[in-house]
Subunit: 201 residues, 4 copies
DNA sequence: AATGAATGAGTTTTCATTCAT
DNA sequence: AATGAATGAAAACTCATTCAT
């Protein structure tokens, strides 16, 4: 990918994630990378194409990340606190707090409101997929008889919803700062700790 | 408030909550209520004033609702399941699922990303206030010795975060439908039920 | 019709008939009537709407003219040279050489090449309708036994095609000048004269 | 002439003759021959140069054709129906219905309206030259005493104008199809037949 | 209370062209 | 012989707003 094209994607995502797709003008994007407005059309067919490419990159990245998580699930025979920390590290650092993904998630949360296709991706990547993955994790723990409780769905929501709350509160609202990232990690890990203590594994 | 002014507010909120403030044009609003663009300026100083008035109405409504909730907290000496249901009913029906408030919450979730003032209101009404209220509830229950557990903050997050997850998933994403409202209630009340069962009150 | 709207139509037709629809810019039109480009959109939805309105006006005008001609055909019981001159006067002065219609005919001749709908109108108003009308005229003359020859179609083409040639040569090519109008009339009336001499009415 | 250059000319004429010079973009042309826009400037100085070259080729072709016609006029001492058919065949097939010339004639009919130079060529090749040639033909026939009538100009217009009408109607309007070509030939030859029958040669 | 008419600034996009490679 | 990258100028159109009526 050419230098200019990459710059366009970067700047566009930056602006889209703050203001929403329609509000950002080609002028805004070009202004930040010092090219003329007409030049952008050499690299992208139109404004929509920039958006589409960003979403494509995101989905590839997220799918890769999810594959990694699911592999780590099948590989770990003796599931312990460490495996869990590993999973969290990937999910937090390579997804929720990753610069690119974080911005896309913000963008999705704006665009989902009046775009059915985006609404589906938003629903999938923020609600369905993470909850489902946790369900799988707890199913495995139940099968391995690490946990007595056998309602994997209920465990998943109990485990994931505070993380989701902290995600929305600290990672997906306002401007993302290091302070907020710390706040998120602190709260999230505290919750995970308490959760496993209660489960008594 | 004149009929036309009310119509403008209604239609504006409808559109703002779907597309965001900047994307909606005066033309869009006027088109739906069959008045000319210039007429809108008889009722509002400018586009921003429509937005501001909507936010003001919301805050008054929300404060009233919160007062009601907090009163119900001080009045009920013998706190029981019923008091809880009452609180939920108010919070769910007169706030989260109320047509006006629901749309404002959607609007806030868009605008908070690049508007610091709105970001504060969003943070307050979606994260801080509800969590704090729950903390108070549990503090009271602890004081009344209904509950042994004494970490009101932890209880609050355990109680509120699934409701928040369901709120975001079913009430604040995509288009709000009766099906989604039911889905939300079902999940939320199931969670509340399990929560109190576990607490063993 | 407001003054400005009429001016827009006038100037637009002027330019369209010289350069073709697509070549003329909104800027060109507005420049000539001293209004800003954005103002034109108060009077017309878009550029196409200007074109469409012009065509509508033309068709109404042409239909009116044709009705007049056909009435003059049914009214005149004793058909003579004078009736013919009357018909020609209407057709030449109120149609071919009329400022508005002449420009529309030029416009049609450009646009017909890549616009099927316009091609149909062009075909109708320049080829089919006039030839058909002449056929009717000669049919009547045959019925009235003013003419012995009984092939009204052949007579029509013999009568109309030189007029068509002169129309295209003097009225619809280059810039229309008084010199060319005279040239057209001279040639056309000479042809008509010779034609009726040969027919021996 | 290089393959690519020829392709550019072909495609350009195709598009120009449908939409007019200004409407067709370099992008349109290049799109159809799968080269990049910048490549076209290796073969032509600019867009205008493509147009100019097309006109040059046309004039050379037309002059050659006319020379052929005029030769056939001087060679045939005993002028008969056959000589006439020969002339028509050349004029119809190698000119009016020839793919290249037909498209140029369409292009001229668009461009003549706002381009004086083109207007002259249009006037010359569609009105003056053919009429003049016919005048010469009839002058010869008068000299050879094949015809008694001695107004060669009037004979020329009587002979040529129906052909011109059919040319404009069937060959130069809308899209050129085999059906229209047949229609033209049918009508044109019928006219020629009747014309000579009436002349009684 | 509403509107007809206008506008400056801005929107996305297209266009012919250039130039280094 | 062709192209990647860029651009100034212009295209059609939108927008929030103004102001006289």
């Amino acid at each position: 990918m050419s230098n200019t094209k990459q710059k366009i994607l970067d700047v566009a995502l930056n602006l889209f994630s703050k203001n929403g797709f329609s509000v950002v003008s080609i002028r805004d994007i070009c202004g930040q990378i010092q090219i003329k407005e007409s030049s952008i059309y050499y690299h992208f067919k139109n404004k929509q194409a920039i958006f589409d490419e960003l979403i494509n990159i995101f989905e590839k990245k997220s799918e890769d990340m999810m594959k990694k998580l699911e592999e780590s699930l099948t590989l770990n025979i003796d599931f312990n606190n460490n495996s869990f920390k590993n999973i969290c590290d990937i999910y937090f650092n390579q997804y929720l707090m990753d610069d690119f993904c974080n911005k896309i998630l913000r963008l999705l949360s704006i665009e989902q409101l009046n775009n059915d296709e985006i609404q589906k991706k938003y629903e999938f990547w923020l609600f369905e997929k993470p909850l489902n993955f946790q369900k799988k994790v707890f199913s495995k723990l139940i099968n391995l008889q690490v946990i007595k409780n056998n309602d994997s769905e209920y465990l998943a929501i109990k485990y994931y919803s505070p993380i989701f709350y902290y995600t929305e509160r600290w990672l997906l609202s306002g401007t993302l700062t290091d302070y907020k990232k710390e706040k998120f990690c602190l709260n999230a890990y505290k919750h995970i700790h308490s959760f496993f203590k209660e489960l008594d594994i």
